[in-house]
Assembly symmetry: C2
Homo-oligomer: 337 residues x 2
DNA sequence: CTGAAAGCGCTTACAG
DNA sequence: CTGAAAGCGCTTACAG
């Protein structure tokens, strides 16, 4: 690191006639420094263009000011929204975000990224990737790695998490359709590896049940969070002469595929087919017809998970280590209200 | 960092009867270690579950294995594609990516993120955000910060960069329209703060000129990389009875807005209006009609900029510190070919 | 409010 | 191929 300018704490000490301990104190905003000395130190730092060496501070203090965020990939609007929120919150707290992609716990554990905490490069990790193996929680706990799960829960194991009530989201999305007068309501699911997928499905099922409705033949189709699965679902329904009145898509990607198929096939939306998605993709409010959807509290997720992680890192009393946020239905133009 | 398990290089030395220097050597794959000793050390490391302490290594070696990527935001498909490519490449090289958002050089310099290099937290930085002030290059050079500019150039100043030939992209996109027989061709520009915007515009202008065409009244409209600007452009043209035959949109967001307006207004695409975008947004090939566009070599950008940065960090002979990649036109369904 | 001393866990010449 | 010594630049008790 030839780009560090080479002036250290000793230079400041010498220049001010104080000790490095005092210099260190002003560096860390320790109040136990005489005001005049603090000023003297600050002036010297400015004059010599002093910059504290992060590695040295980390080595002696044990705090990195870095947090790793593990995500399955970067190609999803929801993930990016959460990542953005986390970055904003971290930045505001003077922390840095290192992003690590890993499809799931196994891939993460086997990758170079495991060294992020094994070698003490970060203070903690935020995990959004799927975790299949319970053993992984134990591994993290055993090693005392501060971590928080995002959009994922582990009730039995008492694992810190910030999640969104996907059952509620699925339930409310479906109820909004039912309130709109739709009867034959379909659901296109999300990828199975995400806990959220099954919860949304359950919410959908429960809403139908509570309303004396039921999912008819072919009304629950497996999807994978892509426009293609939404498009294909509509094509298949059309082929079978089994088009529903409304569809609750597991995410907006899927919903866009449904919308696209409707448009191509001249199906009036929401007249003949209503559509509600999930995530509030940026395009949902930018393209016409504007997509009704379930907006995730991504901003709150970012704030909450960072705060929770910091509390754990600081060893604060761990109360309420399981936050469940509510999403909100946003009705726009693809549903009759 | 109570989660580090407390075994250090001395423990390994003691256990093996060798010195810490030898242990350090095997840690760094230094070939000058007797094979039997290497094995002994490795066995001890495994048995004690030893993990090297990153901070200590950084402090004494000066290498962080971290790279910062500065982007204006996370809400753009092109940015995300580049970020993904960089992450993949960094991961493959055993490096970590810290992402820092900053609207431009001024914001970056004033933010906490400046300490990323000031305090030696990273080996270098990759900059995708706009840089307005030439002084900033000097600042970086003066401090000897290894950096590479992405999608931005500074010919006079000889600044390391990996960019895409936006003039070429604009030229080829427009030529593909001209070859398709379109005459009245419009362009909706990108945000002015990006160098790429003016270059695409220039490419468009030159293609028209080379073909004996010219941009008629109202055919160049200012945009900002959003669906709204594309949508509004079409609305305005329609209101003025001045709809072009084809439009080259500065990016796919804009193009989707154009497509959307065409659809809403019943304008056949590409029959009455052709559209070509830029970036190859994931949706471009997923939604119908599939969008013709200009695909950026994002994968190559990621690979090149990481390699270039590593070369600079390693002080390698700096030949060819200015790479210009070519984008490629991808014709799909929104243009007649 | 201040400082001397020890320590954080490695790597880097240098000598052999 | 191996190791003793010094050093990287801070922070943390501890004593005063």
């Amino acid at each position: 690191m030839e780009f560090l300018n080479g002036v250290n704490i000793y230079d400041i000490a010498k220049k001010t006639g104080l000790s490095v301990v005092t210099v260190s104190r002003v560096l860390n905003n320790n109040p136990n420094v005489r005001e005049s000395n603090r000023l003297k130190v600050e002036a010297a730092m400015k004059e010599l263009d002093y910059r504290p060496n992060a590695a040295a501070r980390i080595l002696s203090s044990g705090k990195t000011s870095m947090v790793a965020v593990v995500v399955p990939n970067l190609m999803d609007a929801f993930i990016i929204q959460v990542l953005s929120a986390i970055e904003r919150e971290l930045k505001a707290s003077g922390m840095f975000m290192v992003v690590a992609t890993a499809a799931d716990d196994t891939e993460f554990a086997d990758s170079i990224y495991a060294s992020l905490f094994m070698e003490g490069r970060v203070d903690g990790i935020l995990i959004l990737s799927p975790i299949y193996d319970n053993g992984y929680y134990f591994e993290l706990k055993k090693r005392n790695i501060p971590f928080v799960l995002l959009d994922r829960e582990q009730v039995e194991l008492q694992v810190p998490s910030v999640s969104v009530d996907n059952f509620y989201g699925g339930y409310e999305a479906t109820m909004s359709l039912i309130r709109g007068g739709y009867k034959k309501i379909a659901h296109i699911t999300g990828s199975e590896c995400f806990q959220s997928s099954s919860e949304r499905l359950n919410g959908y099922l429960k809403a139908l049940e509570d309303s004396g409705l039921e999912a008819g033949e072919g009304m629950v189709v497996k999807g994978d969070f892509t426009p293609a699965c939404g498009f294909n679902a509509v094509s298949d329904w059309l082929r079978d002469g089994n088009l529903p009145d409304a569809v609750f898509a597991a995410d907006d990607n899927t919903a866009f595929g449904v919308l696209n198929a409707a448009q191509i096939n001249g199906i009036p939306v929401p007249g003949r087919l209503a559509v509600i998605g999930y995530d509030d993709h940026p395009y949902a409010s930018m393209l016409f017809p504007k997509l009704s959807t379930v907006k995730q509290p991504t901003e709150e997720m970012g704030v909450s998970c960072v705060n929770m992680l910091m509390d754990i890192v600081d060893g604060k009393p761990k109360r309420n280590m399981r936050i469940i946020l509510k999403p909100t239905v946003v009705l726009r133009e693809t549903t009759r209200n």
